[in-house]
């Protein structure tokens, strides 16, 4: 068994986006290292470099002090590294036993899978979590039929089934209940005594302090702090996670008229429920820029898509007192809603079509039959220049634009319809700093013009800089509402992580 693994100065780029610029991690046999960081700080990327799923672009991995290169998950596995994947690496159609032993099935003399041995060994593994299963979980149950927590446990058992020396737990506790977490932590303690090393990636502060020996904090793809967990407290950790430099400083106070006159309520949502959204209620005033925060994947995307009529949902939605129930985005568009989706290349744009086609796509109806093409072109050009769109021409394909300019096209196509309610799903993701600043000015202007804006962002700085009020979502619910005095970085992060003193509840 190996004794130590260190990752030094790891660099990983996806296309033009730098996910890791300088990642470091040291782990020794017999200890638990917590890998901590805010959204998009590079935690998952760093663990994927260590387990061979992605190949690093720079820096090096050392196993027991010797340089090592993992070209595939197989290579890392052979070096005794197991991973519990956040997205789960289970094949839904296969059974629990087949999934756990995939590629390592015990074979008989004829090279056939020894089903009895597989079953027996699976039962041994399942016994580790005995008593925490709600359904009658059997080695032969198809994984498809299991609830999320049991799938997660199978993923954990699969990782430890080949007796690795290093286990990476990537958000492994997110879907477990407290009893299952308790059992997992007992197992982690046994593994430590057996000389295994554990990398624990989690957002839950309480768990980190319960189980970890050491910590390593990532911020913006860079390791900014590491040490013994007993030398640090929750507050200091959160401070490490927060960015110090800010591109937003200049905006504060500028577009934000603090003593804003109370305007009428425009959008009112009561008990909205959909997949991943569990009963959300809130009100937005006319001309308000309401922020939605929280960790990624806490239901923000589904909330916005429900409001746009894109996914089935229940609950009451009112606009200026009129009850609405959208069954199709078309209904929402007619009422003046617009959605800037989270994945602009897939959902927001016809990527290979021209800028003109994209801008006019939601508005063709306005230009009549026969089409008034030159009139339409003129309006598209006006929208383009008002957004300061940097392009070679309206006929160029959207794919020729930079990320920031492509996002301007997404916003522009909706602005041409003069929407009343703007739903924004992380619009500044993958957008350069200069364009971000333009967006902030645009959003501030739109809200001053009386538009109602719902703005989800994974960048906490933006929420604090732009919004008067931020709803923090956690596990499909609104965990807390921060405004005025309570709208601080510390409170926002604390509420995102589910820490109890996250501002006004």
């Amino acid at each position: 068994m190996a004794e130590s693994l260190s990752a030094r100065n790891i660099v990983k780029r996806y296309g033009g986006v730098v996910a890791l610029s300088d990642g470091d991690l040291e782990v020794q046999a017999g200890e638990v290292v917590a890998l901590i960081g805010a959204n998009g700080s590079g935690k998952s990327t760093l663990s994927k470099v260590i387990n061979g799923v992605v190949v690093l672009d720079g820096g090096q991995l050392l196993l027991d002090g010797n340089p090592i290169h993992f070209s595939s998950p197989q290579a890392a596995k052979n070096a005794g590294i197991a991973t519990v994947f956040q997205e789960l690496s289970l094949i839904p159609q296969m059974t629990v036993a087949e999934n756990i032993w995939l590629t390592r099935e015990p074979l008989n003399a004829l090279g056939q899978v020894d089903r009895r041995a597989v079953r027996a060994r699976t039962e041994e593994l399942l016994a580790l979590f005995e008593g925490t299963f709600k359904t009658g979980l059997q080695p032969d149950s198809p994984v498809d039929s299991l609830p999320p927590d049991e799938k997660q446990i199978i993923e954990i058992l699969k990782a430890v089934s080949f007796d690795p020396w290093l286990v990476i737990l990537d958000e492994a506790t997110a879907s477990l209940d407290s009893r299952q977490v308790q059992r997992l932590f007992e197992l982690v303690k046994t593994w430590k005594q057996q000389g295994k090393a554990i990398i624990f990636v989690s957002h839950r502060m309480e768990e980190i302090f319960r189980i970890a020996d050491k910590y390593s904090v990532l911020r913006n793809g860079r390791t900014v702090g590491a040490g013994n967990i007993k030398d640090i407290d929750e507050k200091q950790l959160i401070k490490l996670m927060i960015e110090k430099e800010s591109v937003l400083g200049f905006l504060r106070g500028e577009g934000r008229s603090d003593g804003r006159v109370e305007t009428e309520t425009s959008l009112e949502v009561a008990n909205l429920t959909a997949d991943y959204v569990r009963g959300v209620s809130f009100k937005v005033r006319k001309g308000e820029l309401l922020g939605i925060g929280g960790l990624r994947g806490q239901g923000q995307r589904h909330l916005l898509h429900s409001l746009f009529g894109d996914i089935p949902h229940s609950g009451a939605v009112k606009l200026f007192g009129n009850e609405l129930h959208f069954r199709h985005p078309r209904d929402a568009m007619r009422k003046g809603f617009a959605l800037v989706p989270g994945d602009r290349t897939k959902e927001g744009l016809l990527y290979i079509r021209s800028i003109l086609d994209n801008l006019l796509l939601p508005s063709w109806r306005r230009y009549g039959l026969p089409l008034k093409v030159s009139h339409a072109k003129k309006e598209a050009a006006r929208t383009g220049s008002s957004l300061n769109l940097k392009m070679a021409g309206l006929e160029e394909p959207v794919s020729s634009l930079s990320g920031g300019n492509a996002q301007k096209v997404v916003i522009g196509k909706w602005l041409m319809r003069e929407p009343q309610v703007l739903l924004l799903d992380d619009p500044t993701k993958g957008v350069d700093v200069g364009t971000k600043a333009e967006f902030y000015a645009l959003l501030t202007r739109l809200s001053n013009d009386g538009k109602t804006i719902l703005f989800y962002s994974s960048d906490d700085e933006e929420l604090i800089g732009l919004c008067d009020r931020v709803l923090v979502m956690y596990d499909g619910r609104i965990r807390s509402e921060l405004a005025g005095e309570t709208l601080t970085r510390e409170n926002l992060i604390a509420a995102s992580l589910g820490v109890s003193n996250g501002g006004a509840q």
Binding site: F85, S89, I91, Q93, E98, L102, T103, L110, Q112, P312
Partner: protein
């Protein structure tokens, strides 16, 4: 998601639906043709079904691993034209077996070309094999522009009339195929097929050799298509570059009737073999009931369209209910 009892049952035994359909079609056929289980009638039916059965086995394995092979008909045509031109009506049996061996190599090579494009260059299976199907069909036309040529009558008779222990030759071939499949499906490779077809990304993260598995399925499909080409040449005794054309749709239909999901990861080979037999019987029924033959294509196409649309229709109703 709650499953109905039938859904749960067919999830565990995907071939069950194929068995029900097979028995039903057998009953109807028996009513129309009471002597169908007589030795000669049975043999003359089975020797016609065998080429599609062979093709369906390879197609099933490709579909199981999440792909599809539309070029199998083209491979059958190449093999048929090669045999008909290289052996000839006056050829010796020594020459015949030599060319049979070459034909199998051709099948493997054609499959390897598909596999290389799809597994290593990551191209879309349906588009790649659609393109190569024209390549292979075009080669067949180049080899034999007009129907003609053939193989010696004595060798054709060997295929047509062999009934060891009073059972059609096809039964022995099917038994061997199923035996091989039962073995393969119990090995690691069998699990890999399901894993790759089920969720290729998760299989990769679990260190399953995804690319090699995908590649291998097309090679197997090329090989069984070549076997089908040999069988149909021995059945017809002559060469025709168009012979494989209509067989591609049949092989896919057989797999769908056999209970394999077109999206991959569910099913096996036993169901598709039953599916291929069912298709043959349906063909029989249509000719006995003197129904126009175009009904047959319509029927097969309807089955595929329904199989493709079923998950979408279920989702549509689920959406409406909310």
């Amino acid at each position: 998601m709650r499953q109905s009892r039938w859904e749960a049952l067919t999830a565990r035994q995907p071939a069950l639906f194929a068995l029900v359909l097979l028995v039903l079609s057998l009953i109807v056929n028996l009513i129309l043709q009471p002597n169908m289980f007589a030795k000669d009638t049975l043999n003359s039916n089975m020797r016609v079904f065998l080429p599609i059965i062979l093709m369906a086995v390879g197609q099933a394995i490709v579909i199981l691993a999440g792909g599809i092979d539309i070029s199998v008909g083209g491979i059958v045509s190449i093999v048929n034209t090669v045999l008909a031109t290289r052996v000839g009506l006056e050829g010796s049996s020594g020459e015949m077996w030599q060319v049979v061996f070459i034909s199998l190599l051709i099948g493997v090579l054609a499959g390897a070309i598909n596999g290389f494009f799809i597994a290593y260059l990551r191209l879309q299976p349906i588009i790649t094999t659609y393109a190569t199907s024209f390549l292979y069909a075009g080669l067949a036309l180049l080899i034999l522009p007009n129907p003609g040529g053939g193989i010696p009558g004595s060798i054709a008779a060997l295929y047509r009339n062999s009934t060891p222990f009073s059972l059609p030759l096809a039964f022995y071939v099917i038994a061997i195929l199923l035996f091989i499949w039962l073995y393969v499906s119990s090995t690691r490779y069998g699990k890999f097929l399901l894993a790759v077809g089920g969720k290729a990304e998760a299989a990769y993260e679990t260190a399953v050799p995804v690319t090699a598995v995908q590649f291998s399925t097309y090679v197997i499909s090329g090989f069984t298509a070549a076997l089908a080409g040999i069988a149909i040449t021995m059945l017809s005794g002559s060469g025709n570059a168009d012979i494989g054309n209509s067989m591609t749709l049949n092989s896919i239909t057989a797999v769908v009737i056999g209970g394999n999901a077109l999206s991959g990861g569910v099913g096996g080979v036993v169901g598709p073999v039953m599916g291929a037999i069912t298709l043959g019987i349906i063909q029989n029924i249509i000719s006995f009931a003197s129904i126009d033959t175009w009904w047959e294509t319509l029927f097969k196409a309807t089955i595929i369209v329904m199989a493709l649309a079923a998950p979408g229709i279920v989702n549509l109703f689920r959406r409406r209910r909310v």
